[in-house]
Each structure stands twice: as structure tokens, then as C-alpha cells.
Symmetry: C2
Subunit: 392 residues, 2 copies
């Protein structure tokens, strides 16, 4: 069931989860959702992971056939878990954690009926809380993703041909992502956050408001996926913002760079420079203990000083965050919002993305992924940060 | 809010939904999930669609900014819907349909608290029931997808280079999919069904059992996405099964073709021919009223007669269906299983996919998308069905 090289990492996660469970007097935690199974078992399977507050976990597997290991039990339906608890003399949990923000209503009710605990609490909140603080193995995965992410971005200029559309540019990049090991899937937390491989925004399309809770929008090519590139021709004077996924391992880096076709307006260059200044200032001040709200407020203050507030994080619709935790999903905790109550802690990994939308030009700004260390921030996505001309 | 060319299609869907609601004495249906919003409004937005049992629908929108139209109301949080119901003199539903198989537990409870209906019922079951029977507009979308799907498949032989891996082959195909209009996203119903752009299975990898409820498996390139291509080298004697998504409109066609590198074994060719025979026989007998279980049983019987049961729909793990409804999601109703209680009805659209896994060779067989007409089946995916040599 468990790959040998992962066992230390998984044990560390189980320990942390058991500590969190004991703090709230939970007796058991049952996980069924793909990202949480991956987090706690190193793989995705159809079935359940059960961790008691003390002792080793149980793996209840529906599919695939052929997994084995300690405390692995095959089931056809979740009701068999109750029988297996009885057969193994396992105590049924009185307070059970279930993924209340991820399981469907019917699944939750079904599991609640099977275990009939006196009390339930929200496993999603607990696990998302734990997932904020990355393990050494997870940080290693981010570094791998970052390296491959940068390798792909280095190939972006060769994707450009004069007269092409943003979408044509994008699928040339997508191919290079895959060549460099992109898994393809781009996971987000929450409903209606479907996104394909990332986002490329050029020209006026950068202003299009999005239904999604991402930093920027774009109209997309179909009403069933209204985000990103919309077949805008990459003409002279256009900024092309590339925010393609760093999904080269299960731990995704987030990195945005801006490319230009010809010269952009002075306002665009100044706004880009402002984004870099925000990043510098945040790199200078942020350390464990810094309130996440401060990071947003630094970005808003510098933006205000430059008179750029109307362009900050959109025009027709402005995102109210300037960064977010990353991991197995692109929108983990913490979120860098003005109302955040969180503070930075060592081994958080987050994306910082001050961006401006310049009407008629496109989007400019920067995004990098940062690891919070004992001393401050360590940038893990390395790639030139200037606006890179495509037609040179 | 609503695009003009869609209004007749949407009105037809609202009428059908209201009929279904009246049959179960529901007063209102509230939808929030992306695919159901797309089905009933023609777009994806962040917010809710409310249809009373009589009268016109309401659109409660959080994002994007700038939508307008009749009965469109902007909200910041769902609790405002109760205030808006009061302000507009709208009757609160006594029996409310909520998406019990799609909403998270917490969202469901929140909506239930807001509307506090005397009774709730499962909107997911109702809508999936309706979505089985496609409208003329939906059928038109399938035809568009099918045409582009075939256009991409015609470009598959040019993707092949001797010595390449299944993954290299796949991302060449992915690029051509995008060039031909693929939206990218590949939507499935149910948890833990994440798949990226489709599946390519070659050689031994075709035997690898999958955690997912798809027809076949494959190991994938990462434990976080354990499906499909796994960097198998496409060497002489390998069958390469291409089952890439037909996601060229929101209505996806499903089509599988088999390619070969060099000559395959006699068993592989015979199994492929058997799959074609199954398809022929099902095309001959199926019509409105035919039980879906019969279609599975025909496939199983012909397979048995040929002594191919050990290879049918997998070896180490065998899928217990031979086809499935398609639409906005790849796994809609009906499902062609031996236990199905459903019968074919006009304007159902389904994929039929008899497949065999031949150890050491790969997967062979066929998959096409069919429309159920008054008289029988109409195949909508047209592309040569023989095993196509890649190295000619």
C-alpha cells in the first residue's frame, strides 16, 4: 500500500493529524477525498483512510485491485467498514472527523449513519489546517516542480509566432509543460473552480471578470469554461501574462511572468515595476509571525502611492487577495487578504501575486512561490522577472 | 444573462424540470453546481439558479460582475436569497430540490438552513434523470464535437515517431486536440474521477488496475493521477489504444480507436474483430425500449462465445459495464451494466465501448457515441474502425 520512501513522511503527517485530533477530543478521522487520501497515503484510490486518535491507520479499498500491506481491507461498499471494525475489535469513534467541506451531502450522511458517532467535526478544516505547514518531503516536491516550471518558462519565447492568438501560444506552452513532466491535472479547492492547465491573458481579455475566485479572469473559449485565453490576437503593444500551472509533481508551484509583443505603454512598465517593488518589500519584512493581512496591506499601500489602485488585481472586478497558500491544490491556506487573521509560520508555502490590469494592453505584474523559513522568505521559483519581449 | 440563441433550448429544459418537479410535488429547485448551472443557464457562474414549480427562474449571482437580464440579482452570500425572496414576494419552497449528490455537506446544510423547507429532495437525481434525454441543441453540440474529434484522430498517425513513449505520443495528440478546439476540461460525475484529456494505453500498462470507475486503467505518471499513459515505449508488437476526450463543445463525444506498432498477435486481431461484431449486433437490435442490461448481455455473450471473457474490459480488474451515457460529463445516464433497470429512450446519447486487454500487447476494441432515434441507433462518431498501423 505504502511506498517505502514515503513512509517517514506519512508517519509525520499521521502524527500531526493525531495531535490535532487529540486537541479537539476526536477519536477517529475518516478521509475519502482524493487530495486528502493522497496527503495521508501517498496515492489516490477509491475507498477510505481511517486514522484512530491512537495507533496505526486502516486502509479500506474499493479499487484498484492488488494493494496490500498492514491493515489494508478490501470493501465493496462503505457499510462493510462497520463489520470490519467489529471483526478487528476496533472501537467505533464517539467523535468522528468527516470531510464536511468536500464530501457530498449524501456521502456524508451515509458515513454518519454507518459510524453513528455521538458527535462529528469537520475533517476538511483540520486537514487544510495541517496542510498549511509543509513537511520536508513536500518542500522537496515543490523544489522539483519549481525547477521544471522554470524549464518550461525558458521555452516560452520559442512558442511565439507573429500573428498567432493567445490560445495558439498557450497550446504550444502546454505541450512543453507535458514534455517537461506536467501531470496535467490542476487541482483547486471548492466548487466551480475548474481550470485547465493555467491561464494566459492578453490585451483586453485581461479585463474580463471571471466567475472564479482566481486573481484574474479572461473570457475563455467556451461558456462551459469561462476563464483565460479567448483567441485574442497577440498584436503589437500587447502584454501577455503567462500563469501556467507548476503541476510537475503533486505539489504545484505557482509562477507568473509577463511577455510583450512590441513595446507596451509607460503605465504598463511602471505598474510592472510596482509589482516588483511590492514583492521586494514583502520579501524584506515577512518572517514567521507576520500577519498575512500585513502582506496584503503592503501591496495595497504601495499600489495606492503609485496611483495604481484602479488597476490592482483587475479593473471591472478586483480580487481581494494578493497571494495564497499552495500545495496539492492551488488555493490552500493561508490566503493573503486584508481580513486574514493568520500569521506566517515556518514551512508555509505560498504564492505572492501582485498584478495589474492595464486597459488596452493586458496584465502585468509578478507571481512567485515562497517558502517561509525561520528567518524570512525563500523564493523557490527562479526565472527572470522583467517583461520579456517575444519578438526579439 | 442568457444568450439569445440559447433561449429556446433553456426554456425547453426549464419546462422539463418543472414537469419533473410537479410529479414529485416539489415547489422549487435550487442549483449551484457548475454542470447543472451550465445545463440550465448556458453558462458557469458563481451563484445559484432557482426555478419555482411555476413561472420564470431567478439567477442569484456572486461572480462575475456585469451580468444582467430578467430576475438577475447580485448577492455576496447565499443568506441574501431569503431577503430577496421576501422583497420580491416570492413564496419560499415547502419542498425544495437540492443537489444532494454534488453539494458538499456544509453547503447543503447552509442552504437548507436558509430556506428551511418542510422537505428536501435530491436535485442531482432529478437533473441527471433529465440530462439523459438530450435536446436538439445538445445533439447539435455532440455533432460538432464528433466532427472535431474525428479531425483530431485523423492527425494521430503524424504524431508517431518510432521509439517514442505513450506519453510523448499523447502530448502530440493533446496539442492537436487543442488546435482543433478542445476546451481541455474533461468533466466526470463523482468523487475521485479526475482524468486529464483522456487516456492512452499501450502494452502491459493496459492491464494496470485503476482506482477509477472508467472502462480501463493504466498506471499514469504520478501517484496523484494514477490513470493512463505511464511512459511505455511504443515498440514493435504494441497495441496503442487512444481514448482521448471529445471535449470540443461542452457536450463531449467519446470515441476510442486502436493503433498498432508493427504486427499484433492473432488473439489481438480476433478480439478487436469481436468488439466490432458486438457493436454491429447492438446497432442491429437496439431501439427505444431495449433494456440497457440487454446491451451488456449481448457483449458478454459474444465475448463468451469467442472465449475472450478473461480479457473483457480488463484482466486484473474488469469493468462491469460496456457503455454509458455522455453529455456535459463523461459518465451520464444510462449505464450499460448487467444490473441496469433502464431502457433506451429516444434522444439518449451514449458511448458503447467493448474492449479487451491482451496481455503483453495492449488494449483493443472500439468505442463510438450513439444517438438513440425513434428507429434505432445513429452512430455520431465517424472514423475508420480497423486497427490502424502507425509505422506505415
Amino acid at each position: 500500500m505504502i511506498q517505502k520512501e514515503l513512509i517517514d513522511d506519512l508517519k509525520l503527517k499521521w502524527d500531526r493529524l493525531q495531535q490535532a485530533m487529540r486537541q479537539i477530543n476526536a477519536d477517529g478521522c475518516l478521509l475519502a477525498v482524493d487530495v486528502n487520501l493522497y496527503y495521508t497515503t501517498g496515492r489516490i484510490y477509491s475507498g477510505y483512510f481511517y486514522l484512530p486518535a491512537e495507533g496505526a491507520p486502516w486502509f479500506f479499498v474499493k479499487r484498484p485491485n492488488g494493494l496490500d500491506g498492514d491493515q489494508v481491507e478490501y470493501i465493496r461498499k462503505p457499510e462493510q467498514m462497520a463489520e470490519l471494525f467489529a471483526a478487528h475489535g476496533l472501537k467505533m469513534p464517539e467523535k468522528l472527523l468527516l470531510e464536511a467541506d468536500e464530501l457530498t451531502y449524501n456521502e456524508y450522511i451515509r458515513l454518519q449513519t454507518i459510524f453513528h458517532p455521538k458527535e462529528t467535526a469537520n475533517a476538511t478544516a483540520v486537514i487544510r489546517g495541517l496542510r498549511r505547514i509543509k513537511t520536508p518531503h513536500e518542500i522537496e516536491m515543490f523544489r522539483l516542480s519549481a525547477e521544471r516550471h522554470a524549464r518550461t518558462y525558458a521555452e516560452i519565447p520559442e512558442c511565439f509566432r507573429p500573428g498567432m492568438t493567445d490560445l495558439e501560444f498557450q497550446y504550444e506552452i502546454e505541450k512543453r509543460m507535458r514534455k517537461n513532466g506536467s501531470i496535467g491535472l490542476f487541482r483547486a479547492f471548492g466548487a466551480n473552480m475548474d481550470i485547465f492547465m493555467g491561464s494566459i491573458l492578453a490585451g483586453e481579455n485581461a479585463e474580463t471578470p471571471s466567475p472564479f475566485d482566481f486573481a484574474l479572469g479572461g473570457g475563455g473559449i467556451d461558456a462551459s469554461c469561462p476563464l483565460g485565453a479567448n483567441r485574442t490576437v497577440l498584436r503589437e503593444g500587447t502584454a501577455v501574462m503567462v500563469d501556467m500551472a507548476g503541476n510537475y509533481t503533486a505539489y504545484m508551484t505557482d509562477m507568473t511572468r509577463v511577455f510583450s509583443v512590441g513595446w507596451l505603454t509607460d503605465l504598463a512598465y511602471r505598474a510592472h515595476q510596482t509589482a516588483l517593488s511590492i514583492q521586494n518589500e514583502i520579501e524584506r519584512v515577512a518572517r514567521p509571525g507576520t500577519p498575512c493581512a500585513d502582506l496584503y496591506n503592503i501591496a495595497a499601500r504601495i499600489t495606492e502611492e503609485q496611483g495604481l489602485s484602479p488597476y490592482f488585481m483587475g479593473t471591472k472586478q478586483q480580487a481581494k487577495f494578493v497571494g495564497h497558500g499552495i500545495g496539492i491544490q492551488i488555493n490552500e491556506l493561508p490566503v493573503l487578504t486584508p481580513r486574514s487573521k493568520e500569521v506566517l509560520e515556518p514551512n508555509m508555502v505560498f504564492a505572492l501575486e501582485p498584478k495589474y490590469v492595464i486597459p488596452g494592453v493586458g496584465a502585468v505584474g509578478i507571481e512567485n512561490s515562497f517558502l517561509v523559513t525561520e528567518n524570512g522568505l525563500e523564493k523557490i521559483t527562479h526565472f527572470p522577472e522583467n517583461i520579456i519581449p517575444l519578438d526579439k
